[in-house]
Symmetry: C2
Subunit: 594 residues, 2 copies
Amino acid sequence: MKRTTYCGFVNEELLNEEIVLKGWIDNRRDLGGIIFLDLRDREGIVQIMADADISDQAWKVADSLRSEYVVEVRGKVIKRDAETVNPELSTGELEVEAVEIKIINKSKALPFVLNDSTTVSQEIRGHYRYLDLRQNKMQKNILLRHRVTQAIRQYLDQDGFIDIETPYLTKSTPEGARDYVVPSRVHEGSFYALPQSPQLFKQLLMSAGFDRYYQIVRCFRDEDLRGDRQPEFTQLDIETTFMDDEEIQEIIEELIAYVMKESMGVEIELPIQRMAYDDAINIYGTDKPDLRFDMPLVDLTEDMAETDFKVFSGTVERGGIVKAINAKGAADAYTRKDIDEGLLDFVKIYGAKGLAWIKVDESGLTGPIAKFFKDKPEEKAIVEKMEAEAGDLILFVADEAEVVHDALGHLRNRFGKELGLIDNSVFKFVWVVDWPLLEYDEDEKRYVAAHHPFTMPKEEDVDKLVSAPEEVYADAYDIVLNGYEIGGGSLRIYQRELQENMFKALGFSVEEYEEQFGFLLEAMDYGFPPHGGIAFGLDRLVMILAGEENIREVIAFPKNSSAMDPMTKAPSPVSDRQLEELSLYVDIDEEEQD
Amino acid sequence: MKRTTYCGFVNEELLNEEIVLKGWIDNRRDLGGIIFLDLRDREGIVQIMADADISDQAWKVADSLRSEYVVEVRGKVIKRDAETVNPELSTGELEVEAVEIKIINKSKALPFVLNDSTTVSQEIRGHYRYLDLRQNKMQKNILLRHRVTQAIRQYLDQDGFIDIETPYLTKSTPEGARDYVVPSRVHEGSFYALPQSPQLFKQLLMSAGFDRYYQIVRCFRDEDLRGDRQPEFTQLDIETTFMDDEEIQEIIEELIAYVMKESMGVEIELPIQRMAYDDAINIYGTDKPDLRFDMPLVDLTEDMAETDFKVFSGTVERGGIVKAINAKGAADAYTRKDIDEGLLDFVKIYGAKGLAWIKVDESGLTGPIAKFFKDKPEEKAIVEKMEAEAGDLILFVADEAEVVHDALGHLRNRFGKELGLIDNSVFKFVWVVDWPLLEYDEDEKRYVAAHHPFTMPKEEDVDKLVSAPEEVYADAYDIVLNGYEIGGGSLRIYQRELQENMFKALGFSVEEYEEQFGFLLEAMDYGFPPHGGIAFGLDRLVMILAGEENIREVIAFPKNSSAMDPMTKAPSPVSDRQLEELSLYVDIDEEEQD
């Protein structure tokens, strides 16, 4: 028999009609002569009533059913009695009076109870991912992901963007993260690399004149895994020609607004706020500020230059800074011990050596360091600049600027959560613009690209690329959502000389950059147009929209924290013949094997 | 200045307006005081007129321009004189009177002339792919590909299919083609495999209850390359639950009709013809018949069993068959030498030892073997069954059935092209259904799956899986377009015992199949639903629609025939440090290096 509708689609219009459903037994309640079954499919659940007086066949089969059996049910849609209506189901006013039930496939007892995830380990969920994906939350998340990608495609298509596929077997480039490599059988000793992004290919597509490109594409990084990282992740990749940074941002804003509306039903106000990178760092201590709540970092460096509290004045003297945040009304929420142990340990993670604090009560500033400021200009500065009121908790870090921003920025985020300052129904986007082009890498003793080596320096800074690289800003922009970087983009270099100077600023020799990027430089000889674009982390975007904290929750078959697929057990050893064909030997250090 | 429109979009509505265009110099004609420029962007070409009397600036810059320079043009849209209208351009009745021209980027002389592809080697095209892609044909092909994928997504989305991504770093499975593998750094000596298809993941998604899945996904096979094969190729992958083979075929037919309409403007008549595999082989000598022309293989085995022509009767005696095709009206087109050398050499490729022939003229059958049949029942059989008429050329192969079908099937296709029997504007789809489940592999001395090991045997044949595997047919179906297999699908096995029997029939030991497919078998213990689907070769489909003969022509950045990217030169050696991190040594046989 053919299925006539989905369980979740059973509605008043089908009343008194005979229908055929196929799905999984979600629940079974035996009331003697009558057995109630919850039948589940992707669209929802409907109650099946198997009454021995109506169909002995149906009742007998129903009697033998267990959870997760796959069954076919033929029956009549009827109204439930008023007192048995289930308001939690969309089908809750109806039920199906079974005429015939057929077992399609049986099921063992599941290794865990569905929709009760608190009791299930990640290991078990991963091993039985096909069962884990039956859970309401995972069904919703994967469907949301689908809706997001569909909305993206719809918008970009109607806006003239062309979906073009770029290679997965490509060239290894040492700049950036570690590549996954693929040994070549035909070219012994040579390897393809899996792309970290299709950056150069999309730039070459602009050279080819496609004008507007997009792709939803897998990318790969062989990095040590952290919370929301996976060896393979999905990127929404976009590139356009002949546009400046603001024009690109406008397109992307419209895209974001469309996606939020279509997938979440949320209206986003445009234009999205723009904030300079330097301001983000100075005011929020991070390049990805969570603007769902306030609590700025306030600069007290000048005010503390002469203070008797030597920790502050000494820091200022050595060229450091003093900043503070005001946890409004939190004085009573944190004891001295909470601060001197818990919060101090927390800021130490980010390199801070200490965490000074003041509580405010009706009498004014209190706490161990308050006495240094008593009746002095420092006291006035604190009260005014921090907008101090009774009940406030003010926390200070004095150190090098980088440490102060990192420590207070993270502390601010912690307070945002702990003090309940965040409205989880809000989606707060912000553009962080005007990035530095380069960062100095202390380990490698050279400059590295803040974004990537193809980012366009600001026109007015181009001359400083060789003479004063640290002062060069870039036409680069990140899009931040609720404190997560969800996308980053830039205008790209399109002139050979500038690109060569960029490689030189990064410490490449001519031989090195010709070897690695010669094809790009050569392309720049043949009418290379100005272009720019952006790349979104799709997993992370969907994670935030789904209200999840790990991208595993929005990927159908993710790897675990040791980059392994817990279901198939990949990676796994391959045969000697395979290795021989690839001219490879595996050489495992035995000592490491324990 | 911002671009106001595309070159190809300049039309009457813009008459007398000032516009800004950006694009490439496609052509330049200097008529002294006036220079005409063809400015090109993705949407087309428009003529720019730089007249020194109107703008000295524009004329001076125009004078310095060369092909493929990237420029910005500000100017007024005017009508061309009637005698200078260019009917080949959509913008041909208009031109842009330049007010200002700015050079954005220069270009060296290109290594080849655009849109004159007959003169360019594949090597040069590949090396400068970004220039090759500027050619009209490649622009059209990539845009067609985009339209095809968009149409696919539109149809499947509105039909309730969910786009779900499956992993690229997955488990190596020895059944099938050779895998590309990816060494794991974390798990020394272990490897991921790049997927040959997401087959098992999509089956597990059906177990998870998503009901309807699709994905446009890259697949990888490390095989020796032939005409239209690439190391990485793109598959449209579809799977559904609770449907029989005909229901699935109906969905796919509607999809095909939609895609043909949206991307090509072609109406396809539904339902698509269905042909049993055995009939395809018997009548057309191939499992992918080109039905744009007739010329069936005619069975003369019984008629030739007793003939004096011992080549035929001897073959029949040894259990072989005799078949023939009639190349209508081709008697004069092929000389005795053409047949005995050219065509004979051709069928020898497919294992035929000889190629007998008869020409028909007003007097009847002629040619070296005609005398054996003269005034005998064989003559009557030939004339009647072959529908022989004066001017026909009839070709016979007598051999084992497989050789006869292969040789005559290919000869039929050759005649289709050589005799101009094919209308290239026709798109002729056919379902080839009722496939054998297994094929006997002479090299491996065992049965292998005709499709893959997860294909459902026909219900009535299940019992023969162990006792008489060669007699088992499958619920499998291929979709064939113009003689190319563009897609293949089946119902899948969803019961553990049957799947285990299938593995056994393929010669797996219990340990082997548990090791490789244990996770699938385990999943079948937990309410695995009946399901089936199909996978299309997207590259090949677009290739046929584009009228191309190699999938390279519809892939933006393809590999060459030695699996190399001629632009980036991937694959390439990686650093010793990278190898060390992967616990790998490269061991190249020096002798092979010469």
